[in-house]
C-alpha cells in the first residue's frame, strides 16, 4: 500500500520532469524565434557595422564555448583559428579574386586543418597543460604571421579587402546587405552549434566532460571525441574570423594575437560558460564596451579587467547562467 503510494508519487515526479524538458525545448524555440526577429530589425535600430562586429565575435565565442562548455577543454589559443582563417579569407578575396563565400569557406577549411593538427597534439594532455600547449601553438601561428609579410602583410596586415559580390551576383558594398549575410552566417552557426550540443555526439562529449575515466570505461575512445569537438570548434572560430575579414576588409596581427584568445575567454565567462546563449550576451557586452568606451583609451582594458574579476568573484555562472538559475531552465 505504502509502496504503491511512493511509486505513484515517483511517477508523478518523472512526468513533471518530462513536462519540464518539453518546456525547455519550447523556451529555446521561442528564444530562437525572438533572436531571428531581433536580427531582422536590428540594423534599423543600431549601426550595422557595430552589429556585424558583435555577430562575428558572438560566433567566435559560441565556437569557443562549444569546446569549453560542452567538451570541458579550455583552449587558450583560439585566436590561431580565428586569425588564420581571417588571413586566408582576406588573402584569397584580395589576391585571388575569390567571391566572399568561397574566401570564407577556404578560411574555414584552413582553420579546420589547423585545428586537426593542433588538436591532435593538445588533447594528449589535460587541464592546464592542455591550455599551455594550445597557447604555445597559437604563439607559433602569431610568429609565423609576423615573419611572412608576403602572405600576411606583416605589421600592416591585409588591408582594403574587397567585399565583392556574393555568389558573384549580389554586391556586399552596402552595409545593410552585408549585415543580413553576416546575420545569416551567425544564425546558421548558432543553429549548427545548438544541434551539435543536442546530438548523440554532444551527449558523449558532455559525458566525457563530466567524467572522462567513466566514459572510457564504457568503451568510448575519449580522445577521438575530444579531437572531433576541437576541430568543430576551430572550424567555427575560423568561420567567425573569415567573415570578420570580409566585413572589416582587414586581416591583421590583432586577430592572431594571444589577447584575442583571452578576449574570447572573457566573453564566454561573462556571458555564461556552458550555456547555449551566454556567449552571445558576453560578446555583446564586451564589444559594446570597447566601442562606446573607446574614448576612455587605456581605461577600457582596466574596466574589462574589473568586470572580469567581478564576474569570477560574484557571479561565476555569467549573465545567462544567472538568468537560467532564476528561471530554473537551462538556457
Amino acid at each position: 500500500m505504502a509502496d504503491g503510494a511512493v511509486a505513484a508519487s515517483d511517477v508523478g515526479a518523472t512526468e513533471f520532469a518530462l513536462r519540464e524538458r518539453r518546456d525547455t525545448g519550447a523556451l529555446h524555440r521561442a528564444i530562437f524565434i525572438g533572436l531571428a526577429g531581433l536580427l531582422l530589425v536590428a540594423p534599423f535600430l543600431a549601426y550595422p557595422v557595430f552589429l556585424m562586429k558583435v555577430l562575428c565575435f558572438a560566433l567566435f565565442a559560441l565556437a569557443f564555448n562549444l569546446l569549453l562548455g560542452y567538451g570541458g577543454l579550455l583552449s587558450f589559443g583560439h585566436a590561431a583559428y580565428f586569425g588564420m582563417a581571417s588571413y586566408v579569407s582576406a588573402y584569397t578575396a584580395k589576391h585571388w579574386g575569390m567571391t566572399p563565400e568561397l574566401a570564407i569557406l577556404l578560411g574555414v577549411a584552413v582553420a579546420a586543418l589547423l585545428g586537426t593538427a593542433f588538436g591532435a597534439l593538445a588533447i594528449r594532455r589535460q587541464g592546464i597543460y592542455f591550455a599551455m600547449i594550445t597557447l604555445a601553438l597559437a604563439q607559433m601561428v602569431y610568429f609565423f604571421s609576423l615573419q611572412t609579410p608576403r602572405f600576411t602583410g606583416g605589421e600592416d596586415g591585409i588591408q582594403a579587402v574587397p567585399r565583392g559580390k556574393l555568389f558573384g551576383l549580389l554586391s556586399l558594398a552596402d552595409d545593410r546587405i552585408l549585415y543580413y549575410v553576416v546575420a545569416a552566417i551567425f544564425f546558421g552557426g548558432l543553429l549548427l552549434i545548438y544541434r551539435i550540443i543536442h546530438s548523440p555526439f554532444g551527449q558523449v562529449c558532455k559525458a566525457i566532460r563530466d567524467n572522462e575515466p567513466r566514459a572510457i570505461s564504457l568503451g568510448y575512445r575519449a580522445n577521438q571525441y575530444k579531437l572531433a569537438v576541437f576541430v568543430l570548434s576551430a572550424s567555427l572560430a575560423g568561420l567567425a574570423g573569415a567573415t570578420k575579414a570580409i566585413v572589416f576588409q582587414l586581416a591583421s596581427l590583432t586577430d592572431v594575437h594571444w589577447t584575442m584568445s583571452g578576449e574570447v575567454v572573457l566573453m564566454t565567462l561573462v556571458g555564461g560558460m556552458g550555456t547555449v546563449f551566454g556567449p552571445i550576451a558576453g560578446a555583446l557586452v564586451i564589444v559594446a564596451m570597447q566601442n562606446y568606451l573607446a574614448h576612455l583609451g587605456a581605461w577600457v582594458t582596466i574596466i574589462q579587467g574589473v568586470i572580469f574579476v567581478v564576474c569570477v568573484l560574484v557571479f561565476r555562472e555569467g549573465i545567462v547562467g544567472v538568468i537560467a538559475k532564476r528561471v530554473k531552465q537551462p538556457l
Partner: protein, 257 residues
Amino acid sequence: MVAGGGSAPDVILATEGLAIEFKGFRAVDGVSLRVKRGTIHALIGPNGAGKTTCFNLLTKFLTPTEGTITYKGRDITRMKPADVARLGLVRSFQISAVFPHLTACENVRIALQKKRGDSFDFWRSERVLSALDEEALRLLDAVGLAGFAELPAAELSYGRKRALEIATTLALDPEMLLLDEPMAGMGREDVDRIAALIRSVAKDRTILMVEHNLSVVASLSDFITVLARGKVLAEGDYATVSKDPRVIEAYIGVGHG
C-alpha cells in the same frame, strides 16, 4: 595452481606473473589469477596489499611492468581501456562514477548508445536516442531508480549514485564486471540492496570485485584471492581462506610488532 589454467575454457580472465613497479616499489608482485566463468571472485587483503593497483592493472588504467593478462584466451596486456570495454570487460569505480550534469536516464543512455557503435553524428538530433529511453527506464527500474529518471545525477544520494552506476554498467550488457569496492561508504540498507543486485546480476555473468566488507565477501563470493604486500597469500572459498593462519596473521598483524 591448475596447470595450463589460462587456456582452460572455464577461465575467463587470467593473469600470469603480473607485476608493476613504482620507482623501485613493487605494488603488485607476480600475481597469477584465474577467474572462472560465471563465478563471483573477490580480491581481498589488508590495506596496502595492492588490491586497487591490481584492479587498475586488470582494467588497463595502469600498464604492468611484467606479466600478461588474458581475457577469453586473448592477450589484453597492452590494450587500451576503451578497447577492453568493447570486449565486454567493464569496470566500476570506487568513488561513484556518474555523469553529474546528465539526468539519470541520460546516464544510462550513454551506455546504451554504445550499441549504435560510435556516436560521431553531430548533425543528428538527440531525438534519435529517445528510442533507447524505454530500455533505460527498465534498467533504472531494476536498480530502484524508476522515479528519478529525469533528475540530474548530481542530485542523487550517494547510494542512488552507486545504483545508477551499476545500471549504467549493466546497460552495456558486459560479459564480465570488475567492481571496485561496490559497498564503499554505503549504509546498511544500501549494502543489502546492492548485494542483492550483484547476486542477481551474477546469474549469467562473471564478477571480480575488490571489497573491504568481509561479511559481503563471505555471503557473495564463490572464490576468494587474498593479497598481501603485492603477492597472493591464499586462495579458496571463504571457509578455507578465513581459517588460513597466514591470512589471519596478515589481517591481525601478528609478527609486525
